[in-house]
């Protein structure tokens, strides 16, 4: 797989630097928290989107995640990697939020009608792929059950190994692998049935 690793799984600068940042946040340093927010907001928002699916209130969830980080970072013991802790917190907060909102789901508006909500332009990836293809891909992902989707996202999109996912979710590695198997089977079968989707994405110049 070409680009499995992402920024968060490759420690920036040095581990010591990150530890210091976390410690400073834990001691109530507001500036440090802003730094931490800037460093991890991409990872958090991506994970929130991929776990929660396309919705109009993603920023509320991301905001809730960072609120919980701020509230709980003092209790982070350092017994696991900070990213493990952050992944766990993000997944938990997202799932809780989605469940709480489930029977008052915010309908997803087409991207065009959301332009006024967004202050940023679509990412280069999406510009190349096109909104329609992107939405098909997201809807395929959203067709998975929650448990399988979380494992699939963490493994196939975030590039995290099964053992680490087991630590993040607090479940046995065997369970991670089982869920992953069925999730992959479902997703890859659907993608295989849409060869033009894959070809279109590849043809867009991103491989």
């Amino acid at each position: 797989m070409a680009t499995q690793a992402i920024a968060v799984s490759t420690p920036p600068a040095s581990y010591t630097g990150r530890d210091t940042l976390v410690q400073r946040c834990a001691s109530g340093d507001a500036r440090a928290f802003e730094e931490l927010y800037n460093e991890y907001r991409g990872m958090v928002s991506r994970l929130v989107r991929n776990v929660a699916g396309q919705r109009n209130d993603l920023e509320d969830i991301a905001q809730e995640v960072f609120f919980q980080v701020h509230k709980s970072i003092a209790s982070f013991q350092g017994s696991s990697k900070f990213t493990t802790w952050l992944y766990r917190l993000t997944v938990n907060v997202t799932l809780q939020y989605v469940k709480a909102k489930r029977h008052r789901t915010v309908p997803y508006l087409p991207i065009e009608s959301r332009r006024d909500l967004s202050i940023e332009q679509p990412s280069p990836e999406r510009q190349v792929w096109g909104s329609e293809r992107w939405q098909i891909l997201m809807s395929i992902l959203e067709s998975l059950s929650e448990k399988k989707r979380v494992v699939f996202v963490l493994h196939e999109i975030e590039g995290i190994e099964a053992k680490e996912i087991a630590r993040i979710l607090g479940i046995p590695t065997l369970t991670v692998r089982t869920r992953l198997f069925y999730a992959r089977k479902a997703i890859y079968d659907k993608l295989s049935r849409n060869p033009e989707l894959l070809a279109g994405m590849k043809g867009g110049g991103i491989t």
Binding site: M1, A2, Q4, I6, A30, F33, E34, R41, S45, R46, V48, L58, E59, A62, Q63, E64, F66, F67, H70, K71, A74, S75, N92, L95, Q96, K99, A100, K101, R102, H103, R114, S118, I119, E120, S123, E125, R126, L137, E156, G159, A162, L169, G170, I171, P172, L174, T175, T178, R179, L180, F181, Y182, Y188, L191, S192, P195, L198, M201, K202, T207
Partner: protein
């Protein structure tokens, strides 16, 4: 080779987890199978596309989030322990606060996927009451409202119960005020209500469940590992105490009929009189005046037992075949433990087919002769589990001298109930098997040392399956330990010796005996 088997290999290849031998087998297969080659190529393409999602930041109103972060960093930090009520929960919180209930009222009913049940937790430290109209609320959506209450889900840890959430079989609701008032809904896994049964769940503690049966049939199977020590079924005619037993209680009109399929139950007639012990396979019928039909004829009891077994082990539709096992859960959604007998022992769970909607399937070997599968199944789904290909290697690889060893399998220790009964219940204590397992796992190094020494003595020793039986005293120290295995006497003595030096948390209520199966293999 099955398609699923090949898929597993393909995915393992992509994860870089495929052994050289597996790689060789896959390469051979790919040469012959064009569909598999295409699939591998498509999966590779799909993964490269998906990996781009890992780089794409979603569209969202970052200005709003930035502003919120500013608020967070400038506001004083919250005092630990206080609950922050999200805006969308505030309405329900205020409504709950207005209520002046002292009880925790847990009102459940048969919960279809889109229905809701509500649990209002106002003062969670006093008592719990649950009403079940026709089924356990094993799954579905519910609302937890209240302060100081936490709930736990597997994999997600403890969370404040101020959220609308989902109740599941393993959901644990616990007050943070008083641990004595904790409610362990996981205990419900030991109990199954037949549809149309009207029973009241009067009390749940960690150890005791009381069910009031108003009408209908209540089937109870208490798993030794479920954590339940005592299930009591109350009818107008009797109180039935169940422990480590499979039975049904049928309340029809003014009659109560107790049928025991496994183990034994104590029946206390409501009108007074000596309690009766009903041992499997047997039945007892009571009316308002006491026991009206002591015992039953053998043929009738056998038929009842068959019916009960089909209820609890209803995965066999007709005779089990060597190829497939069909399992259809009754009534509500939930998990079921499927034990596959020796007839299928020589087959591996390499192929597993399940219909859409099956949520999870974990396969594990209990020991060399039994396979145990846990399935979380949607209501009324039927799951087909296919077993194929040999599992037990007929020629275990020969270990070299001083090979590193590993423990390839262990299961939760089981309380040795049969032994207890023979010793006239001399072991009366309680200690959760999960805790015992946790303590034992920390000592695996010492147990492995015993096996290592065995390999030194017997370089061709191979896989060893052992069972360690031990009694934990009231102080938590091991009073006696013994072991059986297919290794040698020294290995057994070593395992027993290592176990006898372990200290466990003190069991409540007396001593307790466990048996712990463990399998060693050369690395």
């Amino acid at each position: 080779m099955s398609r699923i088997h090949e898929r597993r290999r393909i995915y393992a290849l992509l994860d870089d987890r495929l052994s050289p031998r597996g790689r060789e087998a896959l390469d051979d297969h790919l040469q012959k199978c064009e569909a598999c080659r295409t699939h591998l190529e498509q999966v590779r393409e799909a993964r490269s596309v998906l990996s781009l999602m890992g780089e794409d930041e979603p569209e969202m109103n970052w200005a709003r989030v930035d502003a919120a972060i500013d608020d967070i960093t400038t506001a004083p930090r919250e005092v630990p322990g206080t609950i922050r009520w999200p805006g969308w929960a505030l309405g329900t919180a205020l409504a709950a606060a207005a209520a002046v209930l002292v009880l925790v009222v847990v009102h459940g009913r048969k919960v279809a996927q889109d229905e809701e049940a509500t649990i209002a937790v106002v003062n969670p430290e006093v008592e719990v009451e649950m009403t079940l109209l026709d089924s356990l609320p094993r799954s579905g959506r519910l609302t937890l409202v209240g302060q100081g209450t936490r709930w736990k889900r597997p994999g997600l840890g403890w969370q404040d119960a101020d959220l609308e959430t989902e109740i599941m079989q393993d959901t644990v609701v616990e007050t943070s005020v008083s641990s004595a008032a904790s409610v362990q809904l996981a205990s419900l896994s030991g109990v199954r209500l037949e549809p149309m049964t009207s029973a009241t769940f009067h009390q749940i503690t960690r150890d005791i469940v009381r069910l009031d049966l108003e009408q209908g049939t209540l089937s109870v199977k208490v798993h030794s590992t479920s954590g339940l020590r005592d299930v009591r079924v109350y009818t107008d005619q009797a109180v039935v105490r169940v422990s480590g037993t499979t039975l049904s209680v049928d309340k029809t009109g003014g009659m109560t009929r107790v049928v025991v399929a496994k183990g034994r139950a104590t029946v206390h007639p409501a009108g007074g009189g000596e309690p009766r012990i009903v041992e499997a396979p047997d039945a007892l019928t009571l009316d308002d005046h006491g026991v009206s039909s002591p015992g039953t004829d053998a043929a009738q009891a056998k038929a009842e037992v068959q019916r009960l077994r089909s209820l609890h082990f209803n995965f066999f539709e007709g005779e089990p075949s060597d190829a497939a096992v069909a399992f259809a859960p009754q009534g509500a959604a939930g998990g079921a433990t499927v034990s596959i007998g020796k007839k299928l022992a020589g087959l591996a769970p390499l192929t597993m087919l399940a219909p859409e909607g099956m949520d999870e399937a974990t396969l594990a070997f209990q020991d060399g002769s039994t396979l145990e599968t846990h399935l979380d199944i949607e209501p009324s789904a039927t799951t087909i589990v296919n077993f194929s290909a040999p599992v037990i290697k007929t020629e275990p690889s020969k270990p070299k001298p001083r090979l590193a060893s590993k423990i390839i399998h262990e299961t939760a220790p089981k309380e040795n109930i049969e032994e207890q009964e023979q010793e006239q219940a001399s072991h009366t204590g309680f200690l959760a098997p999960q805790i015992v397992k946790m303590v034992l796992k920390k000592q695996h190094g010492r147990l492995r040392d015993c096996y290592q020494k065995y390999l030194d003595r017997e370089p061709a020793g191979g896989i060893v399956k052992a069972r360690i039986r031990f009694t934990i005293g009231t102080s938590g120290k091991v009073l006696k330990a013994s072991s059986t295995s297919n290794g040698d006497g020294k290995l057994e003595a070593c395992l027993a010796g290592a176990t006898s030096t372990i200290t466990f948390p003190p069991p409540s209520g007396g001593t307790i005996e466990f048996e712990y199966p463990i399998t060693f293999a050369p690395k």
